[in-house]
């Protein structure tokens, strides 16, 4: 799975190009952790191209969120589609993340 990374200001925006399921989710997790360590936790996960998240994907996202929480932050997700949003609501994971409608507002929240 292709994972796009781009820098916007001081923030790394990481965008997985497909659904976060099984092995793809793992790959995403590794890339995101690397990006997180490089930018001292300043990452935003762009989920605009993610149609669906399975349990492995949720695990990966939660692990990321926990890592980020050690530094006092919350993992920022932007452009989650209704399906993904519903999955998060059903599993009760909504409070673990912050949500933004676009990358700009997500990046601005780091100020």
């Amino acid at each position: 799975m292709k994972i796009n990374e781009k820098r916007q200001g001081a923030v790394t925006i990481i965008q997985p190009a497909a659904a976060l399921v099984s092995a793809d989710a793992e790959q995403f997790g590794e890339a995101a952790t690397r990006a997180m360590n490089a930018s001292l936790g300043r990452i935003v996960v762009d989920l605009s191209a993610v149609a669906f998240v399975d349990s492995r994907g949720l695990e990966v996202l939660l692990d990321l969120a926990e890592e980020v929480e050690r530094g006092g932050r919350t993992l920022k997700l932007c452009m989650t589609n209704p399906t993904v949003r519903q999955v998060l609501e059903l599993t009760g994971l909504v409070p673990h993340f912050e949500y933004f409608d676009d990358t700009h507002s997500a990046v601005r929240s780091f100020l």
Binding site: K6, Q8, G9, A10, V11, N37, A38, S39, L40, G41, R42, E69, R70, G71, G72, R73, H104, V107, R108, F110, L111
Partner: protein, 591 residues
């Protein structure tokens, strides 16, 4: 509990036994008394009978009336219920008897001998009464009263009933008091257990069904046992203290600023989660360790050392830029002394200000760019106005030229200002579109005129093609002009000398498409989407030489999208780019 029962039982039984024995003794005594009384009465009765009978017998013997005497004896025996009633003379000669068979002497002798006994006496049950018969001798009356056929059964029955009643009453009393006293016995048992060292509330409690006393006892036991367990109390106190401490820890861990408390020897006394992230380490490795190596900057190290050891006063703020293989960023270290004696020597607050720096840099560059963009037209306007003022020749053509230039430069100023406003509106999320009639043909012709000079200067072929019928669309005129200017301006900026720029308007059903095609430096595929991002400047080194705010394309797309259209790109590096602006036509009205 068994001992209580046994005690109760034995006491009860003993009491009952004693009472029963008392009852038996009493009834025996009563019976005896009664019997004695009866006997005494009987005795007195016999005495009376004896004396009466002996008197009358004496008279009859003196008179020699034997038959009347015998009948008198019989009658007396019958009346007075005498088992033996006889007159004895001489040597035990019975001359009269109630029982005729006993008579041994048929006739009355004239004289007889003395009897062995002369006095009234009793032998066993018989009573003897002497009868003095003058002239004949002394006879003896013998009487034996019949056995007292007194029936004691009434007394006994009465006693029996009394005994039963008393026993029943005793039984009821016993049950009543036993019930009342039982909790007392159980409490006594519990106290015995306490004396033996037992402190368990469970074992010392008694069943609350025994009533108020039991409930009160249990409450007392509960309180006493709770107080008597100091170990548990200490543990729960410790737990509470730990929870309080971890509350503070948890609160510190959700801060995005790093908090680091350092003692005089540069060892970390406390560090929150964010500190560990910023110093690129784990919290476990941080606490108690010398943090000199982790700070990563000599200025910070010196500041911390001097404040921690007390050789410097006041607080110090240092911004450190860090660039390594892991990434780059800017951290702000604020070092303050901690005056309290045992809370460590220095407090360091670490903030990640990278994003702030970026935002500041972007804003600064934008302002600089805008200032430049404003200055150029202003300079031109001033120049041409001054020339016109100073001109004495009265050359109308030159004057008109000057005025045209002032006009177009003013419009340029207007666009720059409009762009600045749009940017701030987009940032604030408050952008609004006006609804004007936009005549595309007029607009494009105007634009053509605006860029004519630039085309000439750079020797670029600039063509604007319009279809025979150009529609009027609804939209924000100023913003659409801004968009078109941005696109064409970019084309001019990034096309080198001798190039070609073609602007084509194509009207389709429901939308208008404006192509701006240039033969410029082009855009690499990986940047094709990025160029539309805010403040984004291409990494291409040719671009870095050209001034730009990095906002032109962002605005163009934003405005197009607000109208319901878009700006798209097709490009090939070193060949050129074609930007297409599409805007919806609400009414397909031909000009």
């Amino acid at each position: 509990m068994f001992s209580a029962d046994a005690a109760m039982a034995s006491t009860g039984i003993a009491a009952v036994a004693v009472l029963v024995m008392v009852l038996i003794a009493m009834s025996a005594w009563v019976l005896r008394s009664q019997r004695i009384a009866v006997e005494v009465a009987r005795q007195q009765e016999t005495d009376a009978i004896g004396s009466l009978l002996s008197e009358s017998a004496g008279r009859m013997l003196a008179a020699g009336e034997l038959s009347p005497l015998r009948s008198a004896i019989s009658t007396a025996a019958r009346n007075w219920d005498l088992s033996v009633c006889r007159i004895v003379v001489g040597k035990q000669q019975v001359i009269a008897d109630a029982d005729p068979h006993q008579i041994s002497m048929q006739t009355l002798p004239d004289q007889w001998s003395q009897l062995a006994q002369n006095d009234s006496s009793t032998a066993g049950e018989a009573q003897f009464f002497p009868i003095e018969v003058p002239g004949r001798g002394i006879a003896q009356l013998q009487i034996v009263p019949a056995a007292a056929k007194v029936d004691y059964w009434q007394t006994q029955a009465g006693m029996g009933v009394g005994a039963v009643i008393v026993l029943t009453a005793l039984l009821l009393l016993y049950r009543f008091t036993a019930g009342k006293l039982r909790p007392m016995w159980l409490v006594r048992d519990a106290l015995g257990a306490v004396a033996a060292g037992d402190r368990s509330a469970d074992r010392l409690s008694i069943s609350p069904t025994f009533g108020e006393e039991a409930v009160a006892w249990n409450a007392l036991v509960g309180e006493a046992c709770r107080g008597a367990q100091p170990n548990l109390q200490r543990t729960s106190d410790q737990r509470a203290a730990r929870e309080q401490a971890s509350d503070l820890d948890a609160a510190c861990d959700v801060m995005t600023s790093g908090l680091l408390l350092v003692d005089a020897r540069m060892r970390a006394k406390f560090a929150n989660g964010a500190t560990a992230v910023y110093l690129r380490t784990r919290r476990e490795k941080l606490v108690g360790q010398d943090i000199s190596a982790l700070l990563g900057d000599d200025r910070v190290l010196n500041a911390v050392r001097s404040i921690a050891t007390g050789s410097a006063q006041g607080s110090v703020t240092i911004e450190v830029e860090r660039k390594d293989e892991n990434g780059s960023g800017v951290l702000r270290f604020t070092v303050r002394p901690v005056r309290k004696s045992d809370a460590g020597a220095a407090m360091i607050v670490i903030d990640d200000i990278t994003q702030q720096r970026v935002a500041d840099a972007a804003r600064n560059s934008f302002v600089a760019q805008v200032a430049h963009e404003l200055r150029t037209p202003l300079t031109n306007i001033r120049l041409y106005v001054e020339t016109a003022i100073e001109d004495d020749t009265g050359d109308v053509a030159q004057l008109r030229n000057a005025l045209n230039i002032v006009n177009s430069e003013s419009r340029r100023l207007e666009r720059t200002v409009s762009e600045m406003l749009s940017v701030s509106e987009i940032e604030a999320g408050s952008i609004r579109l006006r609804s004007d009639d936009v005549r595309l043909d007029e607009m494009l012709n105007e634009v053509k005129g605006d860029f004519a000079q630039q085309a000439k200067d750079k020797n670029i072929t600039f063509e604007v093609s319009l279809p025979p019928k150009t529609p009027t669309l609804q939209g924000d005129r100023d913003k659409i002009i801004l968009t078109v200017h941005n696109l064409i301006g970019n084309a001019f900026k990034y096309t080198p000398r001798g190039g070609r720029i073609a602007v084509t308007l194509d009207v389709q059903t429901g939308k208008a498409l404006l192509d701006v095609a240039d033969s410029g430096i082009g855009i690499a595929p990986d940047e094709a989407e990025l160029v539309f991002d805010r403040f984004y400047r291409s990494k291409d080194e040719r671009v870095s030489k050209i001034t730009g705010t990095g906002l032109g394309l962002t605005l163009a797309r934003e405005i197009a999208r607000l109208h319901g259209g878009d700006v798209t790109l097709q490009s090939e590096i070193n060949k050129g780019s074609t930007f297409t602006l599409s805007l919806p036509l609400t009414e397909a009205r031909a000009a």
